[in-house]
């Protein structure tokens, strides 16, 4: 079937207000955070105080003696009921509770269970653990050569064929190394007019959803039900079934609305823990983390990126070498996929004949890192767009013109060899430049205050291959219920999916009821991640709707109703069943084609079903006496194909921009010897309303994604790509200094100014 054969009936492209808006503002929307079961126990976690150590002894006696404590559970208790209690999407490396060793400060070691959360909390504090400390490693570059090993042996999950070569590897902290080779960079460097090399770093930050991680489990009659704030219930079901040795149909995983996810609530977080606890306690168990415990759950990878380019005197980049080190923390989570699937785009959206990429996922003794709105891409764009700007300035080329000359055009192969299609990079760049007034004179400031402008562009490949399945159910009265596992965590997917289904069926989007992910009811979906749902689930819904329509047509034919009739659906059912009765169930599934990259060269002609791109323009004002700066304007221009709901697209763009703004100028987890020094929101600040740039804008360019539902593709992450380098480039434009490590603080800018003036500020 040809997916683009659908002609819109007008539901797609409407800025329909979110269908759940009323429920949310009146407090009736369901969140697992508020979910309770009769007889439920609360679990509070006792966490490791050392970054790396062998557990010598856990003393639970004082905690267990506290009145009201139901039980104290350790990793060894869990091992008795789950013989191999290790989980993870790429590696089975993470124990449900620490076993034998701890690998980061904050790792869960034991749980206190009580009906009263205050008693559980006190009991968790009363557990004492003795450790034999081990040498630790924290830095992603040092991890590659360090002799302190976070894991004794690598344990890739069997599900990924391309990780098989890592099985059983010892004495390494490299969880995955991805290599891409195209042309001959060394020969080009030797012959080049100019060679530029830089190193850029990003810090560890976290998702900070306003609803922290929360899961509830109950077990009865050989089956488990998990109520959880999860972005991928299907994965949770498969993984819990594997851990317990159950069939999938004995595990039910359901969600409600999520109070934010951003990639944090993917894979297993608390689900295995609450499952083990309910099996031990034989009562329902809930674990809901505090805002602060999120620091010890999942984060964004810190990254060191060494980048080197050969450039001709007329400004053509002819070779680029990228060495990317992602700091994955103590457990791999989805990190190996970040290193690989983002790594292959590390050279940027440029047409470069010779490319050499080494991308490493490393284990360290820090909190684990996984997916965070961009899946490793913002770290890459930070480096290659800072580098690109430095080259342009060194060659006295206009930064936009330099990018224009090197940009990948449709029909040209990207570094993997996959040919770019429907990636309007040039339109995105030009629109961002025009929006910020690039090339036009502007007020450059006066006295100690200087102004500057910066631009940056980034792109990302959709992670592939992943599958989605959808069910469209037409009831006896003709009303439509959509069963789709896409999780609405605030991004507006319920509304967008209703619009897609409604458009295909020719009904009003408001009338479609969307059932939240519940594996007993909704079919398989790989997960709400990587800006994949609009495209993948959107296509599955289109196919399900087409299936339902075909069945309706068959029913009409069976009843002798002429083709193309305007008879209401309810009337067809009435004629068939003699009453308001019956159903028509349409099903559809989608999985794109894909070809794995060659393990030696990273080459494949089918790396991804689609590319997403965004450019940011920034105007900044810098106070040279203090280094303090103010962002006057931030414009993000993205390509998302057809906007299913233009208003939601715009808020996704500005929301992502603000999130990345926090990661660029405020946020950072600060460590000393593996201890987090700022584990509270008093010392880890996210942007507030008064931090908004004076002008904050989100725009899309006109485009159409071939193969996408109504020509659409994803947009949830695009606003994050290019924000950080656009800000650094604008600061450079204003005051001539370059910040190469995030976050960009006033003190760093001030120190750089003093350094440039030949009068460096003393360390203290």
């Amino acid at each position: 079937m040809n997916d683009t054969a659908f002609v819109s009936t007008g539901q797609v492209g409407r800025s329909l207000p979110r269908v759940e808006a009323r429920a949310k503002v009146t407090g009736t929307a369901e969140y697992i955070h508020n979910f309770r079961l009769p007889g439920m126990l609360i679990g509070k976690i006792c966490r490791s105080t050392v970054p790396h150590g062998r557990i010598r002894h856990i003393d639970t006696s004082a905690a267990a003696a506290i009145p009201g404590v139901y039980a104290i559970v350790t990793g060894e208790d869990i091992r008795k009921i789950i013989p191999d209690p290790y989980y993870g999407p790429a590696f089975h490396d993470q124990p449900i509770l620490a076993l034998d060793k701890v690998r980061f400060v904050g790792e869960p070691v034991a749980v206190a269970l009580a009906a009263d959360p205050h008693i559980a909390e006190n009991a968790a504090r009363a557990i004492t653990v003795e450790y034999d400390e081990l040498p630790a490693v924290y830095d992603e570059v040092e991890a590659v050569t360090a002799t302190a090993y976070v894991h004794d042996v690598l344990k890739p999950a069997g599900t990924f064929a391309d990780l098989k070569h890592l099985v059983g590897r010892r004495q390494t902290n490299v969880a995955l190394d991805f290599h891409l080779r195209r042309g001959d960079v060394e020969a080009e460097f030797a012959a080049a007019d100019h060679v530029f090399a830089h190193e850029f770093r990003t810090q560890q930050v976290m998702h900070t959803p306003l609803e922290p991680f929360v899961s509830v489990a109950e077990a009865a009659n050989g089956a488990v039900t998990i109520h959880t704030a999860s972005q991928n219930p299907s994965f949770v079901r498969v993984e819990i079934a594997r851990l317990l040795g159950l069939k999938e149909n004995r595990v039910r995983v359901r969600t409600a609305f999520l109070g934010g996810g951003f990639g944090g609530k993917l894979y297993i977080k608390l689900e295995a823990l609450v499952t083990a606890l309910t099996l031990i306690a034989q009562r329902p168990v809930k674990v809901s983390l505090t805002m602060e415990e999120q620091f010890f759950t999942i984060t964004r990878h810190p990254c060191t990126f060494r980048i080197k380019s050969a450039v001709t005197k007329d400004g053509r980049v002819t070779a680029r070498k990228c060495e990317v080190y992602y700091n994955g923390g103590a457990y791999a989570d989805i990190g190996p996929r970040v290193a690989q699937k983002s790594g292959f785009a590390a050279a940027g959206p440029y047409d470069i004949a010779n490319v050499h990429i080494d991308s490493f996922e490393t284990y360290t003794n820090r909190p684990p890192a996984g997916a965070l709105r961009g899946f490793g891409t913002p770290q890459l764009v930070w480096a290659y767009e800072s580098h690109t700007d430095l080259i342009a300035r060194a060659l006295s080329l206009d930064p936009v013109e330099f990018r224009r000359r090197n940009l990948l055009r449709d029909g040209r192969p990207q570094a993997t060899g996959t040919v770019m299609r429907d990636a309007p990079l040039a339109a995105v760049l030009e629109r961002a430049a025009a929006a910020i007034g690039w090339g036009q004179p502007f007020d450059r400031g006066s006295g100690p205050v200087k102004r500057g402008r910066g631009i940056a562009i980034g792109f990302k490949a959709s992670i592939s291959p992943t599958a989605s399945v959808a069910i469209v159910n037409l009831s006896g009265d003709g009303s439509c219920t959509l069963y789709c596992g896409t999780v609405d965590m605030g991004q507006g997917s319920t509304t967008a999916m209703a619009q897609i289904a409604a458009d295909c069926l020719g009904i009003e989007a408001e009338t479609v009821r969307v059932i939240a992910a519940d594996t007993d009811v909704t079919p398989y979906d790989m997960g709400t991640l990587g800006s994949r749902s609009t495209y993948h689930m959107g296509l599955a819904i289109q196919r399900a709707a087409a299936d339902a329509k075909a069945k309706l047509a068959a029913l009409a034919a069976e009843l002798g109703v002429p083709e193309g009739t305007n008879l209401p659906i309810a009337e067809l059912f009435r004629r068939k069943y003699g009453a308001q009765a019956g159903n028509i169930i349409g099903t559809g599934s989608f999985m794109p084609s894909h070809k794995s990259p060659d393990p030696q060269t990273g080459q494949t002609d089918d790396a991804t079903p689609y590319w997403m791109s965004a450019a940011t323009g920034c105007e900044v004002e810098v106070d040279t006496e203090t280094g303090r700066f103010r962002i006057l304007r931030l414009v993000n221009v993205a390509d998302c194909g057809t906007a299913i709901n233009p208003r939601i697209v715009e808020t996704q763009l500005t929301g992502a921009t603000v999130m990345q703004l926090g990661f660029t100028v405020y946020e950072g987890m600060e460590f000393t010897d593996g201890q987090l020094r700022n584990p509270s929101f008093a010392e880890y600040k996210i942007p507030g309303i008064r931090d908004m740039p004076a002008r904050l804008e989100g725009e899309i360019v006109t485009s159409r994604q071939g193969g996408g539902p109504f020509g659409a593709k994803g947009v949830g992450e695009s606003g994050t790509y290019a924000v950080s380098p656009a800000i650094a480039n604008a600061i450079h434009d204003a005051v001539g200094v370059r910040i190469s490590a995030l976050p960009i603080t006033a003190e760093k800018v001030y120190r750089a100014l003093r350094e440039a003036a030949g009068n460096p500020l003393p360390e203290d």
Binding site: T290, G688, R690, E763
Partner: protein
């Protein structure tokens, strides 16, 4: 958090009797915004909290004397101060300071008594009140005394108050004929605790600066005056040189917000700018 006793006495005498100087787990509570953070983090586990909110109008009112002096009850909320027409007229710098203080939720709950008794260095109001020459009125079973705000906090989270002593009100002398300004510098988001706060207050007579008070907070262990900078200014030093004097004099310490070296730079620049702001539109001789 463990359960604890929350008492709401109806009189000051009762409140003082409920405090226990020998038990650090018994404390007064104003708005509870600082206490709750410490309780959540497990730094403080109260046995009893003595709420002052039942103590009547004396502790919740704002009064202006005939001479323009202000008496502010300890239970006055920061948001009340921010919006008070009396404060906006008699000591506008306080209202201006509160606009960038924490957020509206905290301001509507936090009290001036709790603010001053907290003793955290990263606060906005202490340097402002020091610059204004304010005093707290403290009551204990042995009577009432006045403590200058600059002498109230002795070191990190340690105040001059006894374990059975309460702040009942704040006294601010008349600010007629004086001008003041406060500049808050944050190192991270705008609603952050200050990395540095600089407050200045002074009079101008015959185009000359008289009786300046320059106070800083957040960058030092406690909020404090900078007497050498004040003397330099009185002696005719330029704003820039006064700032330099302040930077040299202040015992600045490094923390999450920035290194000591950087904060010394901020002190110099911010003192200069605070003077410029306080004296905007005023002609000074020399």
């Amino acid at each position: 958090m463990t359960p604890f006793e929350l008492v709401e006495p109806a009189s000051l005498g009762e409140a003082l009797a409920l405090l226990d100087p020998d038990d650090p787990a018994v404390r007064p509570i104003g708005g509870g915004t600082a206490l709750m953070l410490m309780m959540k983090a497990g730094f403080f586990e109260p046995r009893r909290l003595v709420s002052l909110r039942g103590l009547g109008p004396g502790i919740t009112g704002i009064n202006e004397g005939a001479d323009g002096a202000l008496d502010i009850g300890a239970m006055v909320r920061l948001g009340q101060l921010e919006r008070s027409p009396v404060i906006r007229r008699a000591a506008p710098v306080i209202a201006e300071t509160l606009v960038t203080h924490s957020n509206v939720r905290v301001r509507n709950v936090a009290t001036i008594g709790g603010n001053l008794a907290h003793g955290d260095p990263h606060m906005d109001l202490p340097p402002v009140l020091i610059a204004l020459g304010a005093e707290v009125v403290a009551a204990s079973p042995s009577g009432e005394r006045r403590i200058a705000v600059e002498n109230l906090v002795e070191s990190y989270l340690e105040t001059a108050l006894g374990g059975d002593e309460l702040i009942t009100s704040l006294h601010i002398p008349s600010q007629r004929n004086r001008r003041a300004a406060y500049i808050k510098v944050t190192a991270r988001s705008a609603d952050d605790w200050p990395a540095l706060g600089v407050a200045v207050s002074l009079a101008v007579e015959n185009r000359a600066i008289r009786a300046p008070r320059i106070a800083i907070g957040a960058a030092t262990e406690t909020a404090m005056r900078l007497p050498k900078a004040e003397a330099a200014l009185t002696g005719g030093a330029s704003w820039r040189d006064t700032g330099r004097e302040a930077a040299a004099e202040a015992p600045v310490i490094g923390d999450h917000h920035g290194s000591a070296a950087y904060k010394r730079v901020l002190v110099g620049v911010t003192v200069e700018r605070a003077l410029r702001r306080a004296l905007a539109g005023v002609e000074i001789a020399g």
